[in-house]
């Protein structure tokens, strides 16, 4: 990926801003998502809630499913590769999708190293719990960042924690005198030039979405008011009682996140949300946010 290609990849993420990216497991769901107003779909074999329930090793989806989904919609198609699994990423690039999510939702393939994303032409989005982690992923070539949250729980608390942490750390950098930035980079284990960029601009150099545990229109609007550029919804839509209606409501909530009247309107009569999980009741080994570094 040369510099121009990297810019184009950041640019696509910019076009997704203010939108909702939805997890889908087949062509029919992809069409429901597109019709509801999703800006992109994430092609998956199992949504995170099922991965959590069924256990085992979660891998990249079958290319057949990804191709079917790609054929079914006109909006961008994303798919997940395991952390560090650069061959899964090579396969996804060969399929000609629009974005790869190097995702902690799948079982990591490498406990030490993430994918060197500069080796690819295709763009990558990566999860982060804090600013240092976000900047490390950007340093490796990610052209979009999202919070990790805790996927498949229907519990937004971790996504809130991660978004607040990133925003708080950005504000701190902005207020630092220049001579303190190298120490800040050392402490947060992030590339110095990216730390300087954030200090100067007051934001990440790439688009930053919220993800992990968003289940309602109010959750989505909350993440937007906390500073997210857009929202990923995983299990929250197709694990709810009325996916089409909830998908549409979340799209509207992300656009009108600052308008409580619209939020009240779209939150009405959506049927049952996905069942939620208390984070403290998840065993440490099952906490996806702690995968990767």
């Amino acid at each position: 990926m040369d510099k121009e290609r990297y810019e184009l990849n950041k640019n696509l993420a910019q076009m997704l801003k203010g939108g909702v990216i939805m997890d889908v497991t087949n062509a029919e769901q992809a069409q429901i998502a597109e019709k509801a107003g999703a800006v992109a779909v994430m092609a998956l074999e199992r949504v995170p809630a099922d991965i959590r329930k069924q256990g085992g090793v979660a891998r990249m989806s079958d290319p057949k499913i990804i191709k079917e989904i790609k054929r079914a919609v006109s909006i961008p198609v994303m798919a997940k590769a395991r952390i560090g699994h650069f061959v899964e990423a090579q396969i996804l690039e060969a399929l000609g999708i629009d974005y790869i999510d190097e995702s902690e939702v799948l079982t990591p393939a490498d406990e030490m190293y993430h994918i060197n994303k500069w080796d690819f032409k295709i763009p990558f989005v990566c999860g982060a719990r804090n600013l240092g982690e976000a900047l490390r992923r950007i340093g490796e070539g990610a052209s979009m960042i999202r919070t990790k949250g805790e996927a498949g729980t229907g519990n937004v608390v971790e996504a809130v924690r991660h978004m607040r942490t990133v925003m708080d750390e950005i504000r701190k950098l902005q207020n630092m005198p220049k001579e303190e930035l190298m120490s800040a980079a050392k402490e947060m284990q992030a590339p110095y030039d990216l730390v300087v960029y954030v200090a100067e601009h007051g934001r990440l150099p790439v688009v930053n979405f919220a993800a992990g545990g968003v289940a309602t229109p109010a959750d989505a609007a909350l993440m937007m008011q906390l500073g997210a550029d857009g929202v990923f919804v995983g299990s929250g839509i197709f694990k709810s009682a009325d996916p089409a209606k909830r998908a549409e409501a979340i799209v509207k909530a992300v656009t009108y996140y600052n308008d409580p009247k619209v939020l009240a309107e779209v939150s009405e009569d959506l049927g049952e949300a996905m069942p939620g999980l208390e984070i403290s009741q998840i065993e440490a080994a099952q906490r996806m946010a702690e995968r990767g570094w």
């Binding site: 640019n11 203010g18 509801a36 107003g37 656009t255 009108y256």
Partner: protein
């Protein structure tokens, strides 16, 4: 002071806002409701996803008001997704959104993100020097009907068109530093308010 609106539902809203702020005598206004449309002199439809924006302008009653004001002479400029919204015909999609321009548009005409690209081109109507053009999963115009002036073609594909006070580009001037297209549109708006 010209008030130029940017349809602020989804997509490259901030990017257009930043560009307009750099122009003298232009005040950018974010448009999210039908009422917001009453206070602007021109409107930019930003890049983003046309299916998403098309759905929202219908559900939130912006669509008819945009059509009404554009028919009464308000200049409108669509970039990428905005071009699709303006088209009367979308070749590979059953939807028609605003249907204001006599153009036949092909969506994702270049392919997936791997086919997105940047180039530089001289567009005499717009600038005296070559300007950067950024295409992100871009559409192009396959056929321009009566009353449509072709401003630019790339490899035989129409990528910029004007129909009186209506303007559409396959590419994203808001993703570059070059102000030529924003200045060109502001000029159309200025002339329409005289």
């Amino acid at each position: 002071m010209l008030r130029i609106g940017i349809l602020g539902l989804q997509g490259s809203v901030i990017e257009h806002t930043v560009m307009l702020k750099r122009l003298e005598d232009v005040k950018p206004v974010q448009v999210k409701t039908a009422d917001d449309l009453d206070v602007i002199d021109g409107l930019i439809l930003p890049g983003g996803e046309s299916t998403t924006i098309g759905r929202l302008i219908t559900d939130y009653k912006l669509k008819d008001r945009i059509i009404e004001r554009a028919r009464a002479g308000m200049p409108v400029w669509g970039t990428c997704a905005g071009m699709i919204l303006l088209a009367k015909h979308i070749i590979n999609d059953d939807n028609v959104h605003l249907g204001l321009m006599n153009i036949h548009v092909r969506r994702n005409a270049y392919g997936s993100q791997l086919d997105s690209f940047k180039t530089v081109m001289l567009i005499p109507a717009v600038a005296e020097y070559p300007i950067p053009l950024v295409f992100i999963r871009a559409p192009y115009v396959e056929k321009a009907d009566d009353g449509v002036e072709v401003l630019a073609e790339l490899d035989g594909k129409i990528i910029a068109v004007r129909q009186g006070h209506l303007l559409a580009t396959s590419f994203h001037p808001e993703l570059t530093d070059d102000l030529s297209f924003h200045r060109y549109f502001a000029d159309i708006v200025a002339k329409s308010t005289v």
